[in-house]
Amino acid sequence: MKRRGRGVACMWYPIGFTVDANPSAATVKVNEDGTATVLTGTVETGQGSLTVLGQIAAEALGIATDDVHVVSADTDTTPMDTGAIASRTTYVTGNAIWLAAEAAKAILFETAAPMLGVKASQLEAKDRKIQVKNYPQRAVAIGEVAHRSQVVLGQPAIGSASWNPPTVAMDPETGQGKPFATYVYATQIAEVDVDDETGEVEILRICAAHDCGTAINPMLVEGQVEGGISMGVGMALQEEMLFDANGRHVNPNLTNYIMPTSLDMPQIEVDIVQGYDPTGPFGAKGVGEPTAVPTAAAILNAVHDAVGVRITSLPATSERILTAIKAKRAGERKQIPA
């Protein structure tokens, strides 16, 4: 029969490389019409990083995501970047782009200050305008400012910057140090049904609450969480590369390497934990990798809750679970005095 269980797991996860420098550089060019072009050396590998980086540049310049074009991933034209790794793009590349945008914006402010009759420090960029802080009626369109900067003053609004997360080397004997600039936190809770005759696990739902600092784009954050959970499901129950006694691959294909299909995935409910990290761009940290971290633990804790067996070796295939259930029953029978 089917037995229901629930399991919780939480985790922490760092953003960026362990101690080692992992800088990003970026260039933000404000065009004469107030739109912008961002140059970054990172690569879009599906996470939506270019969209998020565009949003960061747009926010810094007070323009819309659609006003920004992101050029990426060409060693001839884009600045150095450590790349799409270690959940670092939003945090590290994002900071570089934010700083570059601030540099470009400073040029715009210098141009706009005399146009608006105030000091540059009194200006802000908002709603596609350069305006006086707390006095939005006094404003000039960002395009007009950018055009004047470039065409009249000969000072194109281009900013370049780089950023590297601050770390402190670890002591070789004790490991004490500050290996990472910041960390994110998350909890996932799984609900499962375990068939105690076959060992089969059906995951009914997973609730995931993830911290990523400010969610630059909540839709993309949810997408990362949902995808990470699918990898966690595979790790928990299905996936394993197998070798024969001679070290040759047994299942190097998608027929026999079992990963989740749409029928194997549960309902996923994602919450983004309200957070703000002052060291990240607009308070953002990262989210790519941690999404896959607590899933297997939550599922196996739910299995334990359902049928009382602790699986210590992954993947928890139905066979492993049934074997554990049978061993538990045999143990219980032994304990009953004759």
């Binding site: 599906g46 939506g48 993309l220 997408g223 995808g227 294909n253 299909t261 749409s262 029928l263 995935m265």
Partner: protein
């Protein structure tokens, strides 16, 4: 070499290819329709899914000769001059695709589902997408997108005078 003539996205196309050419290769290399992707080449991943005579198939598992004289719709045949297909729009709006490599296959599998069932429930959708492996999304937003597209298509078929390109037949 064998000669094949097929109707691809409404257009009659001809090619002369070696008999061992798959439909996927024919589309990608002879007809420059690179929307269908090669992800595994053995029918496991579904990235090569196209519609042949109304049925979603793995184009890596069909020989070009097998489709001679038949009607093939690929991802390139969904959008019209006027607009994105509602499935494509829903996938875009909900963020249902991340790396996008499985997308054309998943969208064609969805199209085939709608041709058979205009009001699928979540189980039907999961079943229809089970031949399209995705590693990025956990299928969650993809399922939302399919539901959204189904709503749009149903409301369009109710106001059929406005319907342009898509015919949704009742099961």
């Amino acid at each position: 070499m064998i000669d094949v003539t097929i109707v691809v996205n409404g257009e009659t196309r001809r090619a002369s290819v070696p008999p061992e050419t798959t439909l996927l290769k024919l589309l990608r290399e002879n007809f420059a329709l690179t929307g269908a992707k090669l992800g595994c080449d053995v029918g496991d991943c579904g990235a090569c899914t196209v519609i042949v005579d109304g049925m979603a198939v793995n184009s890596c598992l069909m020989l070009a000769g097998q489709v001679n004289g038949r009607n093939v719709t690929t991802i390139e045949g969904l959008a019209t001059r006027d607009r994105l297909h509602p499935i494509q729009k829903a996938f875009e709006d909900t963020g249902a695709l991340q790396c996008g490599f499985c997308g054309p296959g998943a969208i064609m599998a969805t199209k085939a589902l709608f041709d058979e069932n205009s009001d699928p429930n979540v189980k039907d959708i999961r079943d229809a997408l089970s031949g399209s492996l995705c590693r990025c999304t956990g299928y969650t937003k993809m399922i939302e997108a399919v539901q959204e597209a189904a709503r749009v298509l149903r409301s369009e078929s109710r106001n059929s005078s406005h319907t342009r390109e898509l015919k949704v037949t009742a099961p």
